[in-house]
Assembly symmetry: C2
Homo-oligomer: 127 residues x 2
């Protein structure tokens, strides 16, 4: 059996792969389908539960931009059936414009799989 | 024994009371003293572990502003020894300037107490 930290990191990689590839099916699969899911995109109010969360990704994916997300400072903590990952999202658009967000992603264990229950990304302001 | 949801909500109230009262002793007590703590203030990069986190509150408290935080949309979920609260922080300064942040606060159970392990607040942009 693989180390849980590696499995959580792999789930986190799938999340960002789905985001970069604008793949709504993969995004739907990585999220837990439940009423405890929470998503806060940078600058957005918090969305609760699967339907509005997946609709928000669909809306983002239908937008004009494709975004590359380079991850730095990725850290994982696991407590029982809950894991949380902190990571900096270094976001580059097609115009080579860069911005950064501080993300907290929570995952819940389902057997040997982990599914996302929280994504909270906040813009890091330049000082 | 009180319902765990109520105890988590009480811990969350203590956090905001400590913030409003600029009470660093109370703030120190509500945070878990461990290496798994994470704090992201609105617009800030993520801080890890107790010392830099408590230093950040100390720096905020030494600033010129006292802030009132009115909480709305508070929701609690508990999974084992981990709880998370989502809440909107409606922040009013002494000049009656208002701003809003979307917060995710995580708590860990210690017997019948809950201590904060994550505070992540992101600015809600006006659209």
């Amino acid at each position: 059996m693989k180390d849980s930290h590696d499995v959580v990191l792999a789930a986190n990689a799938v999340y960002y792969q789905a985001f970069e590839n604008q793949d709504i099916a993969q995004m739907t699969a990585i999220w837990e389908n439940s009423d405890r899911t929470v998503c806060t995109h940078p600058g957005w109010p918090t969305l609760h539960e699967s339907t509005p969360i997946l609709q928000s990704y669909d809306a983002i994916f239908r937008g004009p931009q494709t975004l590359q997300v380079i991850l730095t400072n990725e850290r994982v903590r696991i407590d029982g059936d809950i894991a949380y990952v902190t990571v900096d999202e270094n976001i580059v658009d097609q115009g080579a414009h860069a911005s950064a967000a501080a993300a907290l992603n929570m995952y819940a264990r389902h057997g040997d799989q982990w599914q996302m229950i929280v994504h909270h990304a906040s813009p890091i302001m330049r000082r």
